[in-house]
């Protein structure tokens, strides 16, 4: 493919041996459709093999490659260079984290906070169902819509990087964790609700530290809209504290006989291939 133009990548480099982060410039010949991640790989392969960044899926689902380009949060793999309409790209690692090297932030604090909100379905009425499943819980389409958007989170950490409240206070759980708290709290199959996830109402780390700046919603590359989840979580806590809102129960349970023979009209499994 033909080169469209040269774009300068100004990258905030840092290596633990040198101590201080510094800007380095690289010129990249850009072809149509080239992503920021491809640009970084081009630099790594042809100009500077010491450049470090994180990427895996290169299709916007693993959440490894979030970074800041010209002040905006992006996933490097799903952002085309030409769509940025700039001749110079200032590429920085995410804010609000420690940086391990170059464009690699240490996301551990986010994952630790994520774990504290119990991001899984909690059951009390039939705990044995989890170890030994006998069927599936039923859920109405409306109940699914309540949380589906928030389940698209890929834990890239862009929202936490954008949040000015996290910047002011590390103890705040941040948009990512609280969004997942809401996602599981309103899932009808869950029985823990906001009562079991009591960190969300904590005065230091909880959701009421959020002031709806909306930077997280703007930053999120997956359209998860953490800002909305946090406001809905506040509403949930508010109504619940006056006893105006109760947790919805699951619509039912559908027992499946896992040992039953398949019905006669079921499609046949593909023939087994012999391992070479």
């Amino acid at each position: 493919m033909e080169k469209v133009k040269d774009v300068v990548f100004r990258i905030l480099r840092y290596s633990p041996e040198d101590g201080k982060p510094t800007w380095s410039e690289y010129e990249v010949p850009v072809i149509k459709g080239m992503t920021v991640l491809q640009g970084l790989f081009h630099i790594k392969e042809t100009q500077d093999p010491t450049l470090s960044f994180r990427a895996s899926c290169r299709m916007g689902v693993c959440g490894s490659c979030a970074m800041k380009v010209n002040g905006k949060h992006i996933l490097a793999c799903q952002t085309q260079i030409l769509k940025l309409h700039a001749d110079v790209l200032n590429v920085e690692p995410l804010s609000n984290y420690n940086v391990i090297k170059d464009l690699v932030p240490d996301l551990f604090p986010m994952f630790e906070k994520h774990a504290t909100v119990k991001p899984y379905i909690i059951r009390y009425s039939d705990p044995e169902e989890f170890n030994d499943p006998t069927g599936e819980y039923l859920q109405l389409p409306d109940e699914l819509e309540e949380y589906l958007q928030f389940s698209y989170c890929i834990k890239c950490g862009a929202c936490v990087s954008a949040c000015p409240v996290v910047s002011g206070d590390e103890d705040f759980l941040g948009p990512q964790a609280l969004t997942q708290a809401y996602r599981y709290a309103v899932d009808t199959r869950d029985e823990g609700y906001i009562v079991d996830r009591d960190v969300v109402s904590d005065i230091v780390s909880g959701v009421f530290r959020c002031h709806f700046v909306g930077a997280c919603s703007d930053a999120c590359p997956k359209g998860v809209d953490p800002g909305m989840a946090l406001q809905l979580l506040k509403k949930e806590l508010f109504l619940n504290s006056f006893g105006l809102k109760r947790k919805k129960k699951t619509a039912g349970f559908h027992r499946i006989d896992f040992n039953a023979p398949p019905p006669p009209d079921a499609p046949k499994p593909p023939p087994k291939t012999v391992e070479g």
Partner: protein, 143 residues
């Protein structure tokens, strides 16, 4: 490793932000200013317990200079902005004006975009209030 947390600086210079980030900054500044003002206000008004004379004396001192008129005007403006933006926050935090969860489809339109009409309302009402307050205070400024 080095830390990229900028602390309170990010309240003001965090990057390319939406409009509400600046409302947040103004809300913080006016909020902190009002919190600092409140104890001063309580001390000054509590002078009344020492009798009408001391009350009159302190009022002579604080209430009649153009500088205190300016301070009072700042206070009025801060209260107005903080109250108006506070009402916006109460509405949105109770889930109003932010829409309902839906499957993300590109181009994303999020809750902060949906409630933007409130932000503009807050800013227009604040501007109207500030203009009105300048007019109302002007006799005292040039007294």
């Amino acid at each position: 490793m080095y830390n990229r947390r900028k602390g309170f600086v990010k309240w003001a210079f965090g990057g390319k932000y939406n409009l509400e980030a600046y409302l947040f900054l103004i809300h913080r500044i006016t909020g902190i200013a009002l919190a600092l003002y409140l104890p001063v206000h309580i001390i000054v008004t509590s002078m009344r317990i020492f009798g009408p004379e001391s009350w009159k004396a302190i009022m002579e001192r604080v209430a009649h200079s153009p500088i205190s008129a300016f301070g009072e005007w700042l206070l009025v403006v801060a209260v107005a902005i903080h109250a108006l933006n506070g009402m916006r926050l109460i509405l949105t935090e109770l889930g109003m004006f932010i829409g309902r969860p839906s499957r993300p489809a590109y181009p994303y339109r999020n809750s902060i975009d949906r409630q933007r009409v409130l932000s503009w309302t807050v800013m227009v009402l604040s501007a109207v209030f500030i203009i009105w307050s300048v007019v109302a205070f002007s006799p005292r400024f040039f007294h």
